[in-house]
Symmetry: C2
Subunit: 470 residues, 2 copies
């Protein structure tokens, strides 16, 4: 959980600020962004500070996204230190890197101490090596150790994601013991917690009690009588897997254990929401051949993110075009074929992308696995044939009328049905195969699918035409 | 929150079942699914029941997704009533409709009473009209009224999403009063809650206290001294907007108010996780031209979900092809142009899809609005030109070598740069325009973008070729 500035604001004042800064959808108004831009152009620090100081950190992060790098630099300069600290974990990676370069290392060291260990580690991770060393050196030993231990876990692992602050209770305690402990030890506990983890003498979680369950139970009831089984997460589990478990079992928080099964931290659902969004973002962008960029990316970064896929597409497009080259003689005799051939490949590409997207999504949500893979494949093939029988008459009649040659209508109709079968096959099998080989099924699937439907679209159409017409 | 069967299971027994049914990723093993299939083929109800009774409802729902309709029918017959109740809200829509048809209305009426009002309403919503009437008639008045009132709110609204059970406390109470109230009124409160909403005498929320905060505070402290400002949701807000607020401010639960500002229910983060997944699923599928299907959809349903977009594509492909028709004379003279022209349109389509996907995603996460729309547009245009200058020399040299005509290399290189500018323009402006007109920017954007890049790809390439070569 992030500790946020909001908590300490009197409600009325916050309402007033939100009224100015946010529209009814909780998005910053263009008018407010403009005010910030004007104040930073004028170098009016007092004005800037008064505009910013009562914003929620999430809104400050949003604001950064709407500003140019120059205006961002001025804003960072005038942002109150505690608000800056809370804002850092909310920023997009690209923007965070830019902001971090502008913050003096002592300010940063101080800001990081205010954050929970998971948030602090997420920020430190983005620092350049030398800045990281200076910032860590300026922090108290205990905070530095927490961050270094967090960074010791693999990126995207549960260990990196968890916060070390956790509310644990020995299994022999009763409800009263637990409540008294919370009242006394409040300072050392997480700022917010939703479950109390009941642990055995070796500090291994044996159950959990939701805080509302603790509140409801009489003080003399033993924790072991009201605890529920826990879904344990281990430090080395991948964050995508953790998100799946949270989503499937509707968890609010879960204990994280080390290799010996000992409780070492907890993961809360608000971090999971971010991960779900991040994974979805990756899937949707990868399907479109965009590798890694966000709103903070510069033009060269974006070009690097997109050109590789376009270059691969160039190669596959040339391969597809080479098929056309084989039939130059046919086209020379029946020039109408040159006009019609892109229609066959375009519809094939679209149908293949449909099948591909549905399959990638089903794999991502684990609705598709070896139990139903072959059933899914056959269903897609039947769908492909059915789509073909809907579309083939339309294009067949249109092409026949236009070319005044019904043989051409027949050829394009038949080619359409066959290419939609190719599309279904390659649309399902490509992501399934990638997934079985432990690759991300979204990466470069689309290029392979459309390359295949282009290739076979041209081949089937021009091949059939050569047989029938020439 | 769903009340789940897990809570009442002794931990050891559950571990054992999970060991058999689930792999290390918490996905049902093909071996377990096979056992269920065999038992239902054999009509062995006792075996089926023993396989199923200790599963988590989410796993039963998963199992249903892996089974054919015939096997599902047998499983529904043998599923214990309380487990069936908990499973219903977890099912995909298509599968839920199928399952509901097989459950007698009295069993269903009883099952629904076990659920929280939001989950019960979500199930009743999926019933056929006559079955719905019979099921509601068989329920106690109070449960029926709760469901009917929930269904009175618009689909996808906060009112439909909220549960009516909520923990509220008057603002003059202190911590001790509140804890005593929870202990006494435990039965009428939500099964799980995370925040206590502090209300004024008109039942309007004025603040909230996280349950862990209540636990931490001394009994004599007034709620008004520890409460935090609330992010209120109103009954008529769209669920997508609600999800955005939860995600942005890291909320675990939020109070829902009616038009007079009175507290009428709450929304919890676990429901939000489902909505985020649902909205992401819609975005990714709509971009691929898939309108509405899930793993429970039949072949005719899938065809209906996909054919419309393919048919529209057929029309736009014909429009693109008609451009080629204008240049039949040019192609007749230089047949190499027929081979090369699909390359220009393919790369344009891919680059347009990249720009489109990034823009749709940025709109969905509200990273893009009128504050930065024009900056985004210019950035994409520069990216398009830059991509063009990377790719044009490659294809220009390749085409020049192959055709042994450097003019053809020059024409295809220039056409590539120009079409990538078209791609960037249409890729950004299409979703932005749809979004401004209050349409979903993902729907039918892709077809328009690729149609445009096809059209201009052919036009620019063949037009330039006609000028330069003929």
């Amino acid at each position: 959980m992030s500790k946020t500035a909001t908590a300490s604001l009197p409600s009325d004042h916050k309402d007033e600020i939100e009224h100015v800064a946010l529209d009814e959808d909780y998005v910053l108004t263009p008018g407010f962004v403009e005010k910030v831009v004007d104040a930073s152009d004028a170098g009016d620090g007092t004005k800037l500070r008064s505009l910013l100081e009562d914003l929620h950190p999430a809104d400050v992060a949003d604001l950064m996204g709407f500003l140019t790098a120059e205006h961002r630099a001025v804003v960072v300069l005038w942002l109150p230190a505690d608000l800056l600290a809370d804002t850092l974990p909310e920023l997009d990676d690209g923007i965070r890197e830019d902001v971090l370069e502008r913050v003096p290392h002592l300010t940063l060291a101080e800001a990081l101490q205010e954050l929970d260990s998971d948030d602090a580690a997420a920020v430190v991770e983005d620092l350049e090596d030398d800045q990281r060393e200076r910032v860590l050196a300026a922090m108290p030993d205990v905070d530095r150790a927490a961050i270094e231990s967090s960074l010791g876990y693999a990126e995207d692992s549960a260990g990196r994601l968890m916060q070390r602050e956790v509310m644990a209770a020995p299994q022999f305690w009763n409800v009263g013991d637990t409540i008294d402990h919370v009242r006394k030890q409040g300072e050392d506990l997480p700022e917010l917690f939703f479950d109390i983890y009941v642990v055995d003498p070796l500090n291994r979680p044996v159950g959990s009690v939701p805080v509302s369950g603790l509140l409801r139970a009489p003080r003399t009831i033993a924790l072991s009588d009201i605890m529920e089984p826990v879904n344990e997460i281990t430090v080395d589990q991948d964050q995508e897997e953790v998100a799946y478990i949270f989503e499937k079992y509707h968890l609010i928080s879960a204990p994280v254990t080390d290799s010996a099964g000992r409780l070492v931290g907890q993961i809360t659902v608000d971090d999971i929401v971010n991960i779900i969004q991040e994974e979805n973002r990756e899937d949707i962008l990868r399907l479109a051949g965009v590798s890694d960029e966000d709103r903070g990316s510069s033009v060269p970064e974006i070009v690097r993110s997109r050109v590789p896929w376009l270059a691969i597409n160039l190669v596959t497009a040339v391969l597809g075009a080479s098929v056309i080259g084989w039939f130059e003689g046919t086209i020379q005799q029946v020039i109408a074929l040159a006009v019609l051939m892109p229609i066959v490949s375009a519809i094939g590409g679209n149908a293949g992308t449909q099948a591909l997207t549905v399959t990638v999504r089903a794999l991502a949500t684990r609705e598709l696995n070896s139990s139903n893979a072959s059933r899914t494949f056959w269903r897609e093939l039947v769908v492909g044939v059915a789509n073909g029988f809907v579309l083939a008459p339309l294009i067949g009649v249109a092409a026949g009328l236009w070319s005044q040659d019904w043989r051409i209508g027949g050829v394009i109709g038949a080619a359409m049905v066959l290419n939609l079968m190719v599309a279904a096959t390659v649309g399902v099998l490509t992501p399934l195969t990638l997934s079985r080989l432990k690759f991300d099924p979204a990466v470069s699937s689309a290029v392979f699918v459309t390359a295949t439907t282009d290739f076979f679209g041209f081949l089937i159409f021009l091949g059939l035409a050569t047989i029938v017409l020439i």
